[in-house]
Symmetry: C2
Subunit: 340 residues, 2 copies
């Protein structure tokens, strides 16, 4: 690699000291320097193709202008829009981000946090925390600016940007109720995740408020937010013998699995059973019968989490909202049938 131009090179070229060059190139501290000198240095820097060495400046200032972005899995379509939202704020401000995939594995999460710390990130945006996540809480307590997005760590002071799960689930349940459904099953997400737990709690609250008296086995709990678990939980529900007319699923992939499993049992959606999802992942509108779901604002959630993080990194004493809840929207498609 051709040796890059350094401050020293510019200093030699312009006949001044490197500290002068440093000051001349610093847009903030350009105090007490002749404009003539500043101009001379800046043109020289430009001409020589100077690019500041972020490593060196990071070492000295203890600010690397790097943030860590922890995801469960970038290949899960839920997360790329969050990433873009985050970048939309960070990149213009000069931050670069290191993305790591935890695969929902606590041990990996631990290793990856270490990786981020070794690289001296200025802050961390965590889209894959567990409801209880002592390690991340500890890192945060040590003073590392941190925000969670999409999920949250319960009983912690870590700011979270989440979607209105309670509102979304309630709205969906009312929608099913208004469509005539009374026997409504729920395929819940993993109870170790705030989204899985929160949506299940919301389901219980909302059914109670509606006066629905559902059997104990109306809820099947999945261990992963994926199609296979959607299928397994559907089998579990069918095996109870209970005659439900709708399944409210904690996310879209569980719902896709549920629809598939219903078909295998000769039950069609929505003719025999209505199914609803959550998140509104891409291409859902093209997949028959068109999953009725709750659209969440992934990009905005990413954007807002980055805004909060920047504030935490640059204004340590600023007041940061503990929880930011974004509104959601019911998307009506074909997977819910009105019954009488």
């Amino acid at each position: 690699m051709t040796k890059p131009v350094t401050l020293k090179d510019i200093a030699r070229e312009t006949g001044v000291h490197v500290s002068t060059v440093s000051r001349a190139l610093d847009p903030n501290a350009r105090t007490s320097l002749t404009t003539e000198v500043v101009e001379r240095i800046r043109t020289a820097a430009e001409r020589m193709g100077y690019r500041p060495n972020r490593l060196a400046s990071g070492l000295r200032t203890r600010r690397t202008m790097t943030v860590g972005l922890m995801l469960p899995d970038i290949a899960n379509t839920l997360f790329p829009p969050i990433v873009r939202g985050v970048e939309s704020i960070l990149e213009p401000k000069g931050y670069a981000s290191i993305i790591v995939n935890t695969d929902g594995d606590r041990e990996r999460e631990g290793k990856l946090v270490d990786v981020l710390l070794q690289r001296g990130v200025d802050g961390i945006i965590h889209a894959a925390p567990y409801r209880s996540d002592p390690r991340m809480v500890a890192v945060s307590r040590q003073g590392m600016p941190m925000v969670t997005v999409n999920r949250q760590i319960e009983n912690s002071q870590i700011p979270a940007v989440i979607n209105d799960d309670a509102g979304g689930i309630a709205e969906m349940l009312h929608y099913l109720y208004d469509s005539g459904h009374r026997q409504i099953a729920h395929i819940a997400g993993p109870q170790t995740l705030s989204t899985g737990r929160g949506r299940m709690e919301a389901f219980k609250v909302a059914t109670r408020e509606l006066g629905l008296d559902l059997p104990e086995h109306a809820i099947a709990v999945s261990s992963h937010f994926d199609e296979d678990e959607g299928r397994r939980c559907t089998r579990e529900l069918l095996a109870t013998g209970w005659k439900f007319t709708a399944i409210l699923c904690a996310n879209d992939r569980l719902a896709l699995g549920a629809i598939d499993e219903l078909h295998r049992h000769g039950l069609s959606c929505p003719d025999h059973v209505s199914v609803t999802g959550y998140n509104d992942i891409p291409f859902l509108d093209l997949i028959p019968p068109g999953l009725t779901t709750i659209r969440i604002q992934q990009f905005d959630a990413g954007r807002m989490s980055a805004e909060l993080l920047v504030k935490m990194m640059t204004e340590p004493d600023a007041t940061i909202p503990r929880t930011t809840i974004l509104p959601v929207k019911l998307i009506e498609r074909g997977s819910v049938k009105r019954i009488t």
Copy 2:
């Protein structure tokens, strides 16, 4: 942030010089040190929770153990699997990656390369280059290890890991031919990209070899690999009045757009017109009529590109294949109808 433990801290604690600590902790250079000392230092380091500062070591050694990963858009489902493939190699070796999204914008690409250079990346994996991309070629010429994946920069020495476009297109065309189709249109990808250009050339070659005599306007060229352009090109094809029975599209999203546009004109796929895609993006099997397409190996492409890059970074004199072509596979679904 609580001050991290440094070599100096360990040196003070164990009563030796920092250079001794450095050597004791270096798995390679642990030569000529008493095992007793090494052991004492290593346990102390462990106990104190030492984490090496990658910035400092990178500054000194000029190896940051960081690579840049340039994508068009992480939200495009084609790319996350490539990213995971890349990480599967880099992460275990201690590399972190900085991901940037070019959005197919040359100016942005330039800025982002600068960002990567400032951060002293040891190498770059580029999944979003143009067929002609002088800036990236220049960076490569300066000695920056670089590999392109999925696409390639033509007339350059930059190693590329790509899929067998010629083979895939030929296979698909033969498949259509064998299904009785003779009037076959092509919606080509952007001609500024090696994939768009290459697949179109392959289409021409393969039609010639089959003795198909297609009209000039059998090919509609898109400006982006997306649904809207698929629709526009389909309108263009329909407007010619030529009676084609199949459209071979340069990628899946163009194909989805094409099917949609055909429907709007009262033409169904595959009953009136057969349509084929390329890439085999997720959920395609769930979208009727099931797009017949070519499956490419994204994860493996990512993995191999990372393997090549690692080799370039660690063995500067190693021989690196200029082009690595991965096999593809035709996935038969319902969007092609056999005609007589």
